[in-house]
Every structure is written in C-alpha cells, then in structure tokens.
C-alpha cells in the first residue's frame, strides 16, 4: 500500500467521526435556538414581524411554528435519523434565515436577527451586526453541507437500522 492509499484509507475511517461531530453540533444549534424561542411564542412572532417581510398575522404563525420546527430538526439530527434529509432541511432553514438577514441589512433595518433570542428592534445605541450573524449561519451551513456529503455517522439511528457498527 503506498502512502497516498494509506492516507485515503485513514480519511475514509475518519469521515464517520467528522460527520458525527457535525451532526451533534448542528443538533445543538437547532435545539438551543428553538428552545430559547419556544418559551414566548408571541415574542417570537414579533421577532419575525420585525423583518417586515410579511403581514403581522402571517408573522405570528411563522413565529409560533418556527421554534417547534427548529426543535424537531434538532432532535432528528441528535438521534441521526434520515441524516441526509434532516441535514437538507436544516440547510434550507439556514438559507432562509441568511436570506432574511441579508434583506434586513439591505433595507437598512436595525433589528436583532432573533437567531438565538426573541429579537426585535435594537434600541439604546446597540447596532446590528448582520455580517457576524451571516458568518455564523454560514458556519452552520458548512456543518449541514458535511452531512449532506457524508451522511454516515456514529451513534445514529440510520447506522443502527442498517446494521452498521
């Protein structure tokens, strides 16, 4: 076996572990962001409304449903079921969030993105840090990308069902 082959074998063995880290990390992101919002759905609705992208009635529904969806995606990733599909759904949500932040930024709104909080308008001289918010979400998107590419991971329901060790 030459050196190149050896390296590629090692990488093949490492991928399930890398994917496991990505899966659990992304699960934590969704569970935490959903958990922080679920305690006050009215506030979550107001955070969605602050983006000024939909009517108040629609924002209220989105604000109520979104935290539960985030928690559901977090749980699905945590147990590792249909990992590729779950990661794809997570990626779609992240792309929507990034789009929302870019649109708020482009329109010059001064709002808290409500990513890990209930958001709302910024007051008292706090300034929006859209660049950082987007960068962070892109980081999460990379985790989802790893799972889309290499969905096999350790300690997952998928692995269990397929009889992998």
């Amino acid at each position: 076996m030459d050196l190149k082959q050896q390296q590629s074998t090692r990488l093949t063995a490492a991928w399930p572990w890398i994917s496991t880290l990505a899966r659990l990390g992304l699960a934590a992101v969704f569970l935490i962001s959903g958990g922080l919002k679920v305690t006050d759905l009215a506030a979550s609705g107001r955070a969605v409304n602050a983006y000024d992208l939909m009517s108040w009635e629609t924002a209220k529904v989105v604000g109520a449903v979104q935290p539960f969806l985030e928690i559901a995606v977090g749980l699905l990733l945590l147990i590792g079921i249909a990992t590729r599909l779950s990661a794809a759904i997570a990626a779609v949500l992240l792309v929507i969030f990034i789009g929302g932040i870019i649109s708020a930024w482009a329109r010059g709104l001064q709002i808290d993105c409500g990513c890990f909080s209930k958001g709302g308008e910024l007051t008292g001289g706090r300034t929006a840090e859209y660049g950082l918010d987007i960068l962070r979400d892109v980081g999460f998107l990379v985790l989802a990308g790893i799972l889309l590419w290499k969905p096999r991971s350790k300690f997952s329901v998928d692995g269990l069902l397929l009889g992998e060790r």
Partner: protein, 250 residues
C-alpha cells in the same frame, strides 16, 4: 465443470443475493426514516399552530376586559387636550423607557399643561421574559390600566417608573404594585383589579396591536403619526422630540 468451478459460481451467486438483500434493506430504511422525519416535522408544526390558536383565544373579545377610559381602539390612556397627538408605547420593565421618562418626561408634562399636546400612553408587554417568569410587563401594565380606570393613570405611571425593578429581576410583586397604588391614592377597586388580573389579557391584546402596527421596540415615540427617533434608532433627545412637536404644530 470441475468441483472448484462450481464452488466459485455458487459463492458468486451468494454474494449477488447478499448485495441485493443489503440494497433492499437500505431502500426500506430510507423510505421509513423519510416518512418518520416528515411525520415529526408535521407534528411539530401542528403543535406550534395549536399553541398559537390556544393563545389567540386569550385575546378574543369575550376574554378581554377593555378599560372603560381607554382611547385609540381601546389601547391607550390619553393625558391632556392639545392638538398634537403624541403616542408613547412603553413597557414598565424597559430601562430605556425609564430613561426617556426621566429625560423628556418633564418637557412632555409642560406641553400637556400648555395644552400643546395630547399624550396617548400605550402600555405594552414585550419584556415578559425578562422577569423570571413573573410576567412583570403584563402585570404592571394591567395594574396601570386599573389605575387609569380609577382616574390615576399619570400618578401611577410615574410611581411605577420611580420604582422600576431591574430588567431580568423578578419585578415587583402584586402586593408591591398595590402598595404603590395606595401611595398615590388608589383604593379597593384597584386592589381587586390587580389581584384578579382583570386587565392582563387586555395587555396581551394591546401588545398584539402594537406589533401589528409594525413597531418592535420600546419606547416607540410617535408624533402625529410619525415615529421620532435619534440617529441609528437611538432614543431621541428632548430637543429632537421638541422639534418633532413643533413641526407637527406647523
């Protein structure tokens, strides 16, 4: 055909069957896990929808006691009789609201005395999460509504800000809210309203109205329909506020 050949053939056949079985298993697992994921998401969405629907019930007309003295679709308490309308949306837990009251409150009071403005105070509860689950924003706003019904809104409003609890603390207890009411001359009917949480659902409703008008933060200061802000969404200075009122007076 030699014996060795036969063995090789049957081993190959076994391998093909095993591969087919594995593929079949993968297919089944993919289908069922996909179904499970979709089901979980639908259920999660349904829970969110259901919780929202049950919360919306709280603001149905039959569940809301609108304070008899409230103006502006029953959402605010008017002070003064001047031609310029100043709408102030405030949360009694919000420190910047208190800062605005300290900074510009005396000027506003003078404008009321001079019959230049009518101030409509809109209590809203956007910081309920910042009182360790005691929902101080809703409770204090509800108490202010009770004070308004008994004709002491301004006095009670001022005493609430003078005794504002720290954001993130448990807020003032109901007993303390009643005690403050008594200190400005409120009586038994006020005490009953605070204890019965008479106006708490109304607070939820007016907070909804606040959001539906496109406002997100407190304090929101609106002069004759135009929001007044400092640069970069900061609190307007008293001078900026005075200019806005002068502009509205034309």
């Amino acid at each position: 055909m030699s014996k060795g050949d036969r063995d090789r053939k049957s081993a190959q056949a076994r391998k093909i069957v095993e591969a087919q079985k594995a593929a079949e298993r993968r297919r089944k697992v993919t289908i069922w896990t996909t179904v499970a994921v979709v089901a979980v998401l639908v259920i999660a969405g349904g829970i969110g929808w259901g919780v929202l629907a049950s919360q919306n019930k709280k603001t149905e007309a039959s569940q809301v006691t609108t304070p008899s003295v409230a103006v502006d679709e029953g959402t605010a308490f008017a002070v003064g009789t001047g031609p310029v309308t100043v709408d102030l949306y405030e949360d009694f837990m919000c420190p910047i609201c208190n800062q605005f009251e300290q900074q510009t409150g005396p000027t506003i009071k003078q404008m009321v005395t001079d019959k230049r403005v009518t101030v409509r105070y809109h209590p809203v509860a956007i910081l309920d999460e910042a009182s360790n689950g005691t929902k101080y924003s809703t409770r204090s706003g509800g108490a202010a509504a009770a004070a308004a019904v008994d004709g002491k809104f301004t006095e009670y409003h001022d005493v609430l800000y003078a005794n504002q609890p720290e954001e993130g603390s448990s807020g003032l207890t109901d007993a303390k809210l009643i005690e403050l009411g008594k200190s400005v001359g409120l009586g038994a009917s006020f005490e009953t309203a605070v204890n019965d949480k008479t106006y708490d659902n109304w607070m939820t409703k007016v907070t909804d109205t606040f959001a539906s008008r496109g406002f997100n933060g407190t304090p929101t200061i609106v002069v004759n329909g135009k929001q007044v802000e400092g640069p970069n969404n900061t609190l307007p200075t008293t001078a900026v506020f005075e200019q806005a009122v002068q502009a509205a007076e034309g």
